[in-house]
Symmetry: none
Subunit: 215 residues, 4 copies
DNA sequence: GATGAATGAGTGTTCATTCAT
DNA sequence: GATGAATGAACACTCATTCAT
């Protein structure tokens, strides 16, 4: 999230950066196609037309390092796509809608990247059994929770829901839609309807007179 | 989903059924603990106090067969827990609420089973890379979709949402809540709030006068 | 050092014990021939006429486990050879002589075993860089030190040397002789002369009137 | 052992000599720290702050060549330290004492160099499995043997021991002391006591009236 | 001359499955 | 029918060395 994330400590040669990018691309495609579990260095090397798996180990410190690079790349693409859309929206409600719509629309533009990311989030574990990339690293639920809480304080969202739980629900619903790739529905309509759903669920009481419960 | 799923084609001796159950139990615990990816016959055999992995291969046709048996068992437990709660509910809205609440509550009673199931749904792939157990196999989204559509026709749910998409969203939200095990919230309250959320989202226009969109 | 060291927890099948012994034998020969560093599972498997290295991993928990088994076996052979000779000796001086002579003579009877043991002691390290089998495990220097100290108290050895340092010197001298396999000297004479050397070095002042230093 | 061992056949540029020295130093430190077995070009390059292992291969014909250079350097340091001390001693007995003491004292001044040398002597093997640097190459035992024999002829040492065997014993004892780094004993006292030990062991009969054996 | 990139054989280990007993 | 033994492909990763630039 720093201004120049690519200017990290080890200065990389042009050719090395190119190789790394090539490997990362092959890794993304492989993970999206066969799933994280069945992805091996051998398959990635084959897709990247590399002669050996040793090549990947040469450019990346290990499997975790490669997974980290893949995550970074996907997040870069996703952020580049979503951020302008979210920034253009007005108000807390508008931004929530923009976030949901942009996220679903992202599926239409970068389905492979998104599937790879979900595979990593769900499956990648290190030797200790802990997630290699946990959800907080990519800061989805955290940011969403903060946004919902701020919107509640500003009075744009209803006060009767727990922000953390709602953020989890929103994320889960989006991921499920992404994973299931609902056939017959175009992504734009899909995103709009999902945004509608959570707009109704978070609307304040005043606009929602007979709310069934307020905890 | 047949009435007696365990009395399938090959009639099993008592001792064989016991062995299979023992292995399935060990598999569920192992998958829940270390994740599907890191689960191997060796670890299952160790937990089941079997001396060799050959034993598992003897009782199950292969990894897919074992995963299928695990899924069946988890679904049996889940159905046994949820069905009475859902049947006791009144109307489409009440049943939807009961379904969501029962599902979250199930986490409190059978966390190991649920985690194992989610691991399998997310990770288990056959040699061709296709999911071994897809979501439709366990008929969650399908049944939910049908329920939502029927409720729409009966006028209990609003008509402006797509049943399939809403079913996907509901399932995804529940799974996310289950996976994240929100700290500081007790399961009952969690389930109630999640049910509230989708109650608001599916309520008809009449009770929800100024709905922002109706596609 | 327990009475029945082979009656450990896991009861092994006859055939498994045979395989383990076969592998241990091949490992000893390989280590003695090419050195610990150049010994790999592949070479051991080849010598043992096993089809794959996986076989070794099947019978031993890992490289460390195999090295431990090799050490145990060599120590078993060495103890079996040396113990009766040492027990037959009289007095502290006699036992020290017997120990040295038996150790050198052991080289003539089991040169391969001894070379393998020395290779392991000098080279085998675990991932953390620590010796897999340290000298104290096989309790050579520890026992020797105690023997020298007791002999000093009993007045059989001179009091002017440090028992630990002398034990180290004795062990080092023996190992050097073993490693260099002095050509042209028969082992029996070799052992006798080495024992003479340390007999002179440890003899009390009374028999050694003009000792140059007494710290 | 030539007068100017570093001025060998190929005349090297200043910068090349510097690079070689830098690599040799890094190699010594690495071998001493992690052991010869776990030392690789990669680790040496890292310590020498070189960007690639190719650099090492460029300056040295191979691993054996590097090990040779390391040995030369350590021997240079050791000789520089020990030679004046030995030359200053009087008589065969005095020189033997000086040699032993200087060798142990060397450990206090250059522990890293010494550990590296012992690692190489014990572990370094070429492809054929033969030692890359054998003990005779560094001429320790050879020179010592000659010294002992000359001292015997001169009557300073007893005649009843075999010079080669005694030289081996002396070297082995010193190496064992060096390797074990006896805690709680300061190096000077250590060296003195070890020298005492072999002084007693090599003293002629006349000063040692009741010698137990004379072969 | 010097270097970063690449190589491919080799490391120990795990895996699901098969088979003779 | 049941089981311990064996298989061999696959795994991530390291190695010393080579080579085009």
């Amino acid at each position: 999230m720093s201004a120049k994330p690519e200017r990290q400590r080890p200065e990389r040669t042009f050719i090395e950066s190119a190789r790394r990018a090539q490997i990362v691309t092959a890794a993304i495609e492989t993970i999206a196609e066969v799933g994280y579990t069945k992805t091996s260095f051998a398959k990635i090397a084959k897709r990247a037309r590399l002669s050996s798996t040793g090549m990947i180990s040469y450019h990346f410190a290990g499997k975790e390092d490669l997974v980290g690079a893949v995550t970074e790349e996907v997040m870069r693409v996703a952020t580049e796509f979503m951020q302008p859309r979210i920034r253009a929206a007005q108000g807390y409600t508008g931004m929530l809608r923009a976030y949901i719509e942009a996220n679903v629309e992202l599926l239409a533009h970068h389905p492979v990247h998104l599937r790879a990311l979900l595979e990593i989030l769900n499956n990648a574990r290190n030797a200790a059994g802990e997630p290699v990339v946990d959800a907080t690293t990519i800061s989805r639920i955290g940011l969403l929770t903060a946004h919902l809480r701020d919107g509640q304080r500003a009075g744009e969202f209803a006060g009767f829901f727990d922000p953390g739980l709602m953020a989890t629900a929103v994320s889960g619903a989006i991921d499920a839609v992404i994973t299931s790739r609902p056939p017959g529905l175009d992504p734009a309509a899909c995103g709009r309807e999902l945004a509608d759903t959570f707009a109704r669920a978070t609307r304040p009481c005043s606009e929602n007179p007979d709310d069934p419960k307020d905890t």
